[in-house]
């Protein structure tokens, strides 16, 4: 059987050419359609990342609030008080882990609330408080916390609350 799949002197396209062409168009369309949700998810990823950064910032703010003032009962004497306020060991634990949540609206996949994992570390030697938030890179697959953001802050030494008083041991005048 001889297959004469292209035109000769008369010109025009054969059936096979047309079918192949249409097949290519359909394939390209399908690929394009399949990519659109991915693009939308990409835009949602930015939203989740922004929310994760805010979660981390909020932890830093709460840590700052808790570590601003040394409680009067934390250390009553000036000598040890100075040492105590050299860092924030009195306020922060070395390591902690807890969860937070991000509430989304009108996400492509219908996901409304996703959980993010928060871990904090505090290094007394450098007085550095660090917070890490692990969040899903794909908000439609909230179980895979594959992306993360880390913020760190070194806080100023703790202050004495206005109106508080504490003891300053000084030597006998005879010894001064």
């Amino acid at each position: 059987m001889q297959i004469d799949s292209y035109s000769d002197a008369e010109g025009g396209f054969t059936m096979l050419e047309v079918i192949v062409c249409v097949g290519l168009v359909v394939s390209a369309t399908v690929i394009a359609l399949g990519a659109l949700p991915v693009l939308i998810r990409q835009s949602t990823r930015g939203i989740v990342r922004t929310a994760a950064v805010e979660v981390a910032r909020n932890v830093l703010v709460r840590a700052e609030a808790a570590g601003t003032y040394l409680p009067p009962d934390a250390d009553a004497t000036a000598t040890t008080r100075v040492q105590t306020t050299n860092n924030h060991t009195w306020a922060f634990v070395p390591a902690a882990a807890f969860s937070s949540a991000v509430s989304l609206a009108r996400v492509w996949c219908g996901q409304t609330q996703i959980t993010v994992n928060v871990t904090t570390t505090y290094d007394a030697s450098t007085d550095l408080f660090r917070v890490n938030v692990a969040y899903p890179s794909d908000p439609c697959d909230a179980t895979a916390l594959s992306a993360q953001v880390t913020l760190a802050q070194r806080y100023a030494p703790a202050l004495d609350p206005p109106g508080s008083s504490y003891v300053v041991p000084i030597a006998d005048p005879q010894r001064q």
Partner: protein
């Protein structure tokens, strides 16, 4: 009809029915696909644009809040007729400026004024930050409540990074008063803003106020070689102490007090008096020293016969006879009665001098 056959006629012109049908089907298929693609593309582009616009507006609002928080001496959560309002109080050489955030029927607005205003009044011009907000909450959280803080979205505790020590609430006077003359105070609490919008609910924690300090130092002297306490309280030597408080122990114990012998007599004017016959009396007393090296110095007076010479006198002390105990009118009187004036007086003087700190000024 095989593939080797011509699909159209070269000599007769026109298309066969099959060709027209196939071409029509292909056209319909491609047109349908194209339309669907356009529809989905339009939806997707609109969705992305909506997300981007909403995200930008929300992000700009949150950024503006944090910037205002950095410049504020205090942040207040206030109730208004249109819900909660968030106030940032700024103060500089030019005076006071209040930046107020409020929810006007789903539109988050920001107002700048020289004092506290009603942000709900539509007549007051405001800058629109965000439209289409579906929720707006502002809550002041004291620092002492931070160890019990929970995530506002999930309700799960998120305070694990804080040590267990209680956190002191500190109020800082901002020297700013609101419209009602009430002093606005900053401090170490936070204000938590929850802004439900498209496409995400933003939670923003803001530190309420400035870092002001104002502690009082209480000097504690370490008693050295010429310390006036040395003579009366040798155990105070080398200790860092603050203040001295004398106290007595007049419990009726055989060690210190012998029960009084007393009786009632009628006076000339008909008034009944309690008289005390001489008995052995003593007492214990203590000086409590505060400070880093706090301690209590306990002393007792020597046992004496009192009143002297077996006399019978009207009881000068408010005696609790039911408990066979004496309650002293004063340290000095007891000391004088038991003949310990010199020793006790020196101890009292050293204690008082320490409280006045003048003894250390030599």
């Amino acid at each position: 009809m095989g593939w080797s056959e011509r699909q159209y006629s070269a000599t007769e012109g026109g298309f066969t029915l099959l060709e027209v049908l196939v071409a029509g089907m292909l056209f319909v298929l491609v047109a349908a696909l194209a339309l669907d693609t356009l529809r989905i593309s339009d939806t997707a582009v609109g969705f992305s644009a909506m997300h981007a616009a909403a995200r930008n507006a929300l992000s700009a609002t949150v950024t503006q809040m944090r910037e205002d928080a950095r410049e504020a001496v205090a942040i207040e959560a206030r109730s208004t007729s249109c819900g909660a309002a968030l106030e940032f109080i700024e103060r500089d050489a030019a005076g006071i400026e209040v930046r107020t955030y409020a929810d006007r029927a789903g539109t988050i607005v920001r107002l700048v004024s020289s004092g506290t205003i009603d942000p709900c009044a539509q007549t007051i011009p405001a800058r629109i930050l965000l439209s289409g907000a579906s929720g707006w909450r502002v809550a002041a959280i004291p620092a002492s409540s931070l160890p019990a803080h929970s995530d506002p979205i999930s309700g799960v505790p998120d305070d694990g990074f804080l040590a267990t020590r209680p956190i002191a609430d500190v109020a800082v006077d901002t020297l700013v008063r609101d419209a009602n003359g009430v002093t606005i105070r900053g401090g170490n609490g936070i204000v938590e803003v929850q802004l439900a919008a498209d496409p995400v609910t933003a939670v923003v924690d803001l530190l309420r106020g400035q870092r002001a300090s104002g502690a009082t130092e209480v000097l504690a002297y370490a008693c050295g070689g010429r310390c006036a306490l040395n003579a009366s309280f040798p155990e105070a030597r080398g200790r860092a102490l603050v203040g001295c408080t004398p106290s007595t122990l007049f419990a009726n114990t055989p060690q210190y007090v012998v029960p009084a012998s007393f009786r009632s007599v009628s006076g000339a004017n008909g008034v009944t008096q309690t008289v005390v016959t001489s008995y052995l009396v003593s007492g214990a007393y203590a000086f409590a020293f505060g400070g880093p090296d706090a301690f209590v110095a306990q002393r007792s007076w020597p046992v004496r016969v009192w009143p002297p010479n077996g006399a019978t006198i009207a009881d000068p002390y408010p005696v609790v006879y039911g408990e066979d105990a004496l309650a002293a009118l004063s340290f000095a009187r007891i000391a004088a009665d038991v003949g310990a004036t010199t020793t006790f007086g020196a101890q009292l003087a050293a204690c008082a001098a320490m409280n006045q700190e003048s003894v250390y000024a030599n």
